[in-house]
Symmetry: C2
Subunit: 307 residues, 2 copies
């Protein structure tokens, strides 16, 4: 099975600290690398975490607050200086305003760049598939923040069933039928008897999924969208004692994040976007685990294997 993993580059919130970098993470599946959010200093976090730049093809920006996008211009510029070629278009998915804001800077600061930056605007109010390739879809998740904000659901496509080679040989099944059998078809012998598919194949691993929901107040409407995902990364800016501040700023407490995770029956919850006010996040972890035990704290450099 191909690795499907997430690398946390930054899990801090609006005010930068020496403990947490601004929001950014990398999602890798097969030979593809995607980025979610790109706060100031993201390119340096990539270096610190020893992540190469060349496989990065698509960047998804959740919303247009600075701690989620101020690192874009530096990253785009550095990719140019590193010699990224004209074949390697960089795709940025976000709300329409981002191109308006960033294009003049790209035109000015990145004049000599060989590769192109293409913006793919999406809408804030609907859950749409905004990216698709052979192995994966990415879908938006409308969230509840002070400004338009979208989460992202990375979902593997179902794999075909695994062929049992010795059974294929046993029944002398012609090669022309193999693809149909991979996709679940039974096979009919010359004498009319039917060999059921599950004699000929085994089930593939179930498709894996990862949901990023940040920044947001707890929003029950996302529950059907993220139902049963393998890993949910959720806004957990505050502890319960700061619930009024969470409500005021349209963020979540860790307990609020855990409640969403429990209702959505996700397998694991990773908490992130920590307020600079906490010395450490142990209280946030404790409060979340009371509601949803399978909870962890994000930290810079952490690898999350989606299994």
């Amino acid at each position: 099975m191909e690795d499907f993993k997430v690398k946390i580059l930054g899990c801090g919130s609006a005010l930068p600290t020496t403990r947490h970098a601004s929001s950014s993470q990398l999602v890798r599946l097969r030979d593809k690398m995607f980025m979610i959010d790109c706060g100031e200093g993201t390119q340096l976090q990539m270096r610190r975490c020893r992540q190469g730049f060349s496989r990065l093809g698509h960047i998804f920006i959740s919303h247009l607050h600075g701690d989620h996008c101020f690192g874009l211009i530096g990253l785009i510029s550095t990719l140019g200086m590193l010699g990224r070629g004209s074949a390697a278009t960089l795709h940025i998915h976000s709300f329409p305003e981002l191109e308006t804001l960033l294009r003049p800077q790209i035109d000015f600061f990145c004049r000599d760049m060989a590769y192109e930056v293409v913006f793919h605007p999406f809408q804030p109010d609907t859950a749409d598939i905004i990216y698709e390739d052979r192995s994966l879809t990415v879908q938006t998740i409308p969230l509840n923040h002070r400004i338009a904000c979208s989460g992202f659901l990375f979902r593997e496509k179902p794999s075909p069933r695994h062929i049992l080679r010795e059974m294929i040989d046993h029944y002398h099944i012609p090669i022309s039928q193999i693809n149909c059998i991979r996709n679940g078809a039974d096979f009919t012998l010359d004498d009319g008897s039917v060999i059921p598919n599950d004699w000929l194949t085994t089930a593939p691993a179930p498709p894996r999924s990862y949901a990023y929901c940040c920044d947001t107040a707890p929003k029950s409407e996302i529950i059907p969208i993220i139902k049963g995902v393998d890993v949910l990364y959720h806004d957990a800016t505050f502890a319960t004692e700061d619930l009024p501040r969470a409500k005021q700023t349209f963020h979540s407490t860790s307990a609020g994040a855990a409640s969403i995770a429990a209702k959505a029956e996700v397998k694991r919850l990773v908490l992130g976007h920590f307020s600079a006010r906490y010395e450490d996040e142990e209280l946030l972890l404790r409060e979340a685990r009371e509601v949803f035990p399978s909870t962890e704290l994000a930290e810079e450099g952490m690898s999350i294997h989606i299994v």
Copy 2:
């Protein structure tokens, strides 16, 4: 004597590394704090180096390459979130294009900010005084880079002479005359005899000065401007073996920087803007010291006391 010091926040060059941050430094004199250049991650470097944000009033941007200005929008935004008040206007001095590029971002990302950002454009081709207060002037130094680029000369104003209190008492000099005497006047007694000023005062410390010349190829026209400064910070991107690359990119070798320092008879030379290609900068230091012994390497967190 008031402290006059420079704090190096970043002395790397275009490509970010884990060893050096992008260009930025703070200049402090009395209760004032100035910033020169503001590459990506500067606000975080300020935190790492435990530099408060509130006294920062003026930022000088040498040129519009990303590694010297991509940190501005994040810093401006953070100052707003930290509650900088409406009385604390932030002044940014640079070429006219900077406001065109940055204003739309400020308007979009910093809508709720109480304080104002005012841009003060200067011209690339003339050495002008662009800032002045009671104790200091800042003058531009036209440099020789791929695009318009300006260094900055921070020069203390001459202090008045120190009054020798016991001599004032001895000659019964009235208080109304003290300011004239501070400024160098002699005093005439009632009998017509003249007390020379240097019986009544001692000379103040000579005015101190700091020159920042980055990014630039060695440019002999700057020598009269920076003649005799206490400290010169100069572009030293390359070692001599990479001189062709230095010429091509309009940067200096450390030996080239040292040659300028020697001809300008500065007191100390600090090398900076190191290329990411060197494991360390010992070779750059050796090559510079062969030309100008009183040379040091910049490093992040370094404090330079101008004495």
